[in-house]
């Protein structure tokens, strides 16, 4: 599970810090098992995620997952971000996910599936992202 890819993102996470400004939509999740928390903020430009960042504390899996998330969804259409979240979820459940659906660094999360107690750690930033996108949908005029 502790592949170099995960450790690299953990040591130097990308996308740290929430975007600022009135147009930020935020999702927040807590892991009741360990008390860790995760906030993900997005700014949309039309149907595209123009800016994304996270704030929180967590284990290497949570932090690496959040870091990879920001790389993966920045400047991507909202529908694609949602599809990516679904693909990550499938990966974490141990399902086979095709390379076209989910590639790059994120594939390193596949190892987490073997540790059911840790799946929640990897999932947390993605749930926070979906919350943020949901909030954005709710407030759109």
């Amino acid at each position: 599970m502790y592949q170099e890819m995960i450790l690299q993102h953990y040591r130097a996470p990308h996308g740290r810090g929430l975007p600022t400004g009135p147009a930020v939509h935020e999702g927040a999740r807590k892991n009741p098992l360990c008390g860790d928390d995760m906030r993900v903020g997005v700014v949309l430009a039309g149907d595209t995620i123009a800016a994304v960042g996270f704030e929180g504390r967590g284990c290497s899996i949570t932090m690496a997952s959040a870091s990879m998330l920001t790389d993966a969804v920045r400047e991507r259409p909202v529908v694609e971000a949602r599809a990516l979240a679904a693909a990550v979820e499938a990966l974490l459940r141990g399902e086979v996910v095709r390379e076209e659906l989910l590639g790059g660094d994120l594939r390193a999360l596949a190892g987490v599936a073997a540790y059911p107690q840790r799946v929640g750690c990897a999932r947390m930033p993605w749930l926070a992202l979906l919350d943020a996108l949901e909030e954005a949908r709710g407030t759109r005029v």
Partner: protein, 412 residues
Amino acid sequence: MTDMTHTALAPRGDFPLLAANPLLHYLDSAATSQKPQTVLDAITHFYGTANANPHRGAYALAAAATDAYHEARETIAQFLGARDSDTLVFTRGTTEAMNLVANAWGRTHVQAGDEIVITALEHHANFVPWQQLAKSAGAQLRIAELTDDQQVDLDHLASLLSARTKVVAITHVSNAVGSITPVAEVVRLVRAHTSALLVLDGAQGAPHLPVDFDALGVDFYAFSGHKLLGPMGIGGVIGTRARWEECQPWQFGGDMIEWVHDMDSTWNVLPHRFEAGTPNAADAVGLAAAVRYLRALDMTAVRAHEVALLEYAQERLAGMDGLIVYGPPADARSGVLSFTLEDVHPHDLATILDQHNVCIRAGHHCAQPLMRRLGTSATARASFYVYSDTRDVDALVHALVEAQRIFAPVDA
């Protein structure tokens, strides 16, 4: 180095799970203990020879079940120093015991304007029942703060005590960091300043320290069987007769009644008044076997064994970079090593240790108010018991070094 052999106080072979997993280093006994074969045998023996509903049949088998249950109560009460065994009420464990006291005594005695005093060390089981009682009664919850090494700050505790204090509920031993409460001192303070109900959470006291209820001077003492080599689902609370008399029944049904009229009922005597429904007789019998096992080991020896392991662990870990160990020195601490390691989240530690067959707990230990005060969301916790030995500690240290290697920051 402390002069110590590798031997545990109790042979691993007595514990089927440990015997079947010779490479396993089980260091999570504060969460639940492993069970000796004698306990499993006692439960099987009850179901195989004496199974009937206690108190409810006019036949010999039912009498055998009733006798076995009664005998278990006597054995356990005696082990915890209560001469009057009818003052021991069985519950599912400490959590249910605290809810019992908060309801059976608290609901009728705590009123608006009163105060309930707890401490920042408490397990949620001895925190939330009082918090919620205070809320519903309009009373004020007061929290005694801690010293820098996570012992109850007795000066602060004393400053909270007044004629308004109706309940003082405090842990005997902290599950999260191991601090042992100086009970005699607390009793003296509470009795000097209040006429409050004094409740001790013995979930971690009963398994690890000699307990003499009649000498302690507290009103209620709660415990969980599964933490002292017994089965899950059984525990209890011992109270003084005078305090039990002040309690109202809190759960209603079979066994706890004396007579049921159409419009009202009268209540059975202690302890049955507070044990509604079919009791968990089989697990009570199992727990009695567990306390016989502990009695044979001798609780003073149990305590000494844990202190020796704790000191051995502290020596092995001394000088480890980035290691913070919480709690007081070994003479004021139970066999609990609660710590954080710089750059390694407790969850990551637990996973890596698991890969080395070392079972520890990582998390908030059901003590979120304490974690907030420590300024962390979680700690890693290794905890010892009678079957632990220095090899377990060695495996822990080895795995910690490995975790540190994996997570070491890469030099720029």
